[in-house]
Symmetry: C2
Subunit: 228 residues, 2 copies
């Protein structure tokens, strides 16, 4: 798919949501600069997934940047803390142990740095507020505040050369709607990785929050997950 | 100096301004968690200065985190681009080539991540808007927007356990006032490093913006810089 010359930085974890966000950006004819953060996550296999997805979806560039958030601690995703298991999605209303302090703020800041350096005005992030309201940094009011800050933070903003826009194409979708969107846009879910706790045999655990929500999405969309 | 138990994350570059910000935080009896970012800066000698300063001023912990912003480009501080030389401070009103895209946003985001993980509500940054207005991310309106965003971004903010405050004790001081403040608080300027372009013999260049402004500060304060 050809781009129309506009550049976008797309945060790409390697999961289904961020892959779908990248596919949306490509469908909107952006030249996509995919940014993956190696923050010391226990599910490092998602970095390989990010590489596969960036290639498959035609990213113009893909940077995997190391920012070792383990040094700060405070999360089950970066420390030896038990993951929540077999939870009912309806019960996922509190902020879970998998919350990584200020993660999306760190990620969006790095995306902003890259965007400004390459004269991109657009940043895509696959956050979702509807089906998983536990993370504060996935809510529209947070994204809006980040956007306001970004336009005061930067040379580009100050010189009014451009205004940064944080695109959140999935923020109001259900997991089922995201799965359908992914299929419609030609995202191969087999390339993606969502599970927080990869098993030794290379399979997903099936019981962490990410597995539960992904399974719910596929079930409600009436589709089969090649990863399950 | 004993702390009263409150923790603060202090961004510490190794320069005189951030050392003074750390000294202010200590004087306010915070237990200080000093954070230095190794972002690929050409003046890497400032990392050693940061170590010396953190020890001398009694930081409770000091993390040097690698975030290689060279990969994004766009700045004379991280790429092979000529530095501005011998500029009159009065002429430093435009955003210079040493601007690093979104640097303070990346730094403050990482400080926020650490602060939330250790239950700190306070972040100190030695930005200065008065004597060097060229950087957009040193202005009070930017700091205010970051603070607003931070309190929407975090579990701590959402649960109203705490409100994050970004302290900018130097933001309205002249360079001369910063130098005097540093002396009053017992900061040894010989431990700090400001120059963007360290010479092979280990001395400062004397002609980059950072050297010019530091010299102006010492001259106006009527003090001698052991680094000059």
């Amino acid at each position: 798919m050809a781009s129309d010359g506009r550049r976008a930085v797309v945060l790409l974890s390697g999961g289904l949501d961020s892959a779908t966000a990248l596919a949306v950006a490509r469908a909107e004819r952006f030249a996509c600069y995919a940014l993956t953060i190696d923050y010391g996550q226990r599910h490092r296999v998602e970095l390989d997934a990010a590489r596969r997805v960036a290639t498959a979806l035609g990213a113009s560039d893909h940077v995997i940047l190391t920012v070792d958030l383990r040094r700060f601690g405070g999360s089950a995703l970066t420390a030896d803390v038990a993951l929540p298991r077999d939870r009912d999605p309806k019960a996922m209303v509190d902020i879970p142990a998998t919350y990584v302090p200020a993660r999306n703020t760190v990620f969006l800041s790095l995306a902003l740095a890259w965007a400004e350096a390459i004269d991109a005005q657009d940043i895509f992030i696959g956050v979702n507020a509807l089906d998983y309201s536990g993370y504060p940094d996935c809510r529209p009011e947070y994204i809006h505040a980040f956007e306001q800050m970004a336009n005061l933070a930067t040379k580009a903003g100050v010189e009014s050369r451009s205004r940064f826009t944080i695109h959140t194409p999935l923020i109001q979708l259900t997991k089922a709607e995201i799965v359908r969107r992914a299929f419609d846009l030609g995202v191969d879910p087999a390339l993606t990785w969502s599970c927080y706790d990869p098993q030794l045999d290379g399979r997903v655990c099936g019981t962490c929050d990410a597995c539960i929500l992904r399974a719910k999405g596929f079930a409600e969309a009436g589709l089969t997950d090649p990863r399950s």
